[in-house]
Assembly symmetry: C2
DNA sequence: AATTGTGAAATTGTTCACAGCA
DNA sequence: TGCTGTGAACAATTTCACAATT
């Protein structure tokens, strides 16, 4: 069963720790632009709405990056997190399905900024094949394997209709791809050795819908913090 | 601090339970179309890659919907979950920012299918204002309050550049909106009484990137299950 | 015989509290 | 003194295991 990661000292690293790292990275990028030299776990926590202990614990899985009494060096910590997340290098991404969502992804600046360059587009619609999106030619699905290998693709994004998504993902895995991001609103089955994440826009709307109809049953949980998040 | 929900018996309902409900809903929709009459927690769990106990516990927060010895009635359970999630009614949604992602959302079929109808579009680009996207006119941001009220909007989706997202969300909250879905790659601050969710595409790619560079440190955790997930 | 519903147990994740260091 | 790094305490979540029910 493929799930979970371990630090060098054998502690388990949770999925939420990795997601929080992504958030720290963004905040540190802003801080660096604003010329901050150091930041304390307390201040970083305040910005992320977390506890300082959480921040320190998250970072502790990967090493000791701070200085006691001083805090963390903004620039170094940002670089270190980039390295941990693997976004200090360029990843070659292919996108399958150049429909509404697919087209939006091609133009999404944030990806490029984090080192994810969309290098290949696929569709099976004859009208789209050969056309040019932001300088990238749309290829025929029949050339999938050949093109994925030629362009040394690391990650595949799937933005096809739900009904065909499973077939597509099977093809992609067969071509040797180990990392897949799915935008189709279905849960896809992949082998244990493939990393698979899914982005489901409707699910977050459903959470909001649940929240709105359940306004009444709110648990007024107040969180105090001894480690002091308050400025 | 606004976080969490309570069942009638005062047990706390977690965010993950609500997300799993969304997944159950989708699977049950498929099962209903395939004319299944009942389903056991074991089979539902197998399809969701969860344990049967997890499925039963999740549902138990909201009532007892199953029959011992038999399982759950597919059609009723689906309807019940739709009711719990609040997607058995229509929600009026407004979208701010008709750029790449915004345009994709307007055409995204899944939203409409779940009862989320985009009724209003906003942008501050003069070239876009007045234009027509899938039959919906793009309004000037200056008419925000008037239009949100006139169209009785429940949920606002924000798809504007990161730099202006916080200003926009402040405006939206000022207009009395209580539920917001953000697509801008920033963490936005909202008051405690506003429900806020964020969709961050780059974060999932970063998770995959982390996975690829950390292939080596995988914790080979095998999970056995006494409650028997195996068919 | 099969399967739910649920307290109790196990596991995982978060926060506390303090020793250690700049 | 101020703040990190971390084991221990605590809290939340998941899984177990079994009585109850059809």
């Amino acid at each position: 069963m493929t799930e979970g990661w371990k630090a060098t000292d054998n502690r388990k690293i949770s999925e939420s720790t990795i997601h929080r790292l992504s958030h720290y990275y963004r905040t540190l990028s802003v801080l660096e632009r604003e010329d901050y030299e150091t930041i304390s776990s307390r201040e970083l926590a305040r910005r992320e709405k977390l506890t300082p202990a959480q921040v320190r614990k998250d970072l502790s899985f990967f090493g000791s990056f701070g200085t006691r009494g001083l805090g963390y060096p903004v620039k170094d910590l940002r670089a270190k997190i980039a390295n941990i997340l693997g976004i200090d290098r360029a990843w070659n991404v292919a996108l399958i399905g150049v429909g509404n969502i697919g087209s939006a992804m091609v133009s999404y600046k944030e990806f490029v900024k984090q080192g994810f360059a969309i290098k290949l587009l696929f569709d099976n619609d004859q009208r789209k094949i050969g056309s040019n999106h932001k300088g990238i030619i749309v290829h025929d699905m029949r050339d999938l394997e050949k093109e994925l290998k030629a362009k040394k693709i690391d990650i595949v994004m799937i933005a096809v209709p739900a009904t065909v998504a499973q077939n597509i993902v099977d093809d992609v895995v067969r071509c040797g791809i180990r990392a897949i991001l799915n935008f189709a609103p279905v849960k896809l089955k992949v082998a244990d050795n493939v990393f698979y994440r899914s982005e489901n826009m409707a699910m977050e709307l459903e959470y909001l819908s649940f929240a709105l109809v359940n306004l009444a049953n709110r648990s007024g949980g107040k969180k105090l913090d001894k480690d002091s998040t308050n400025s």
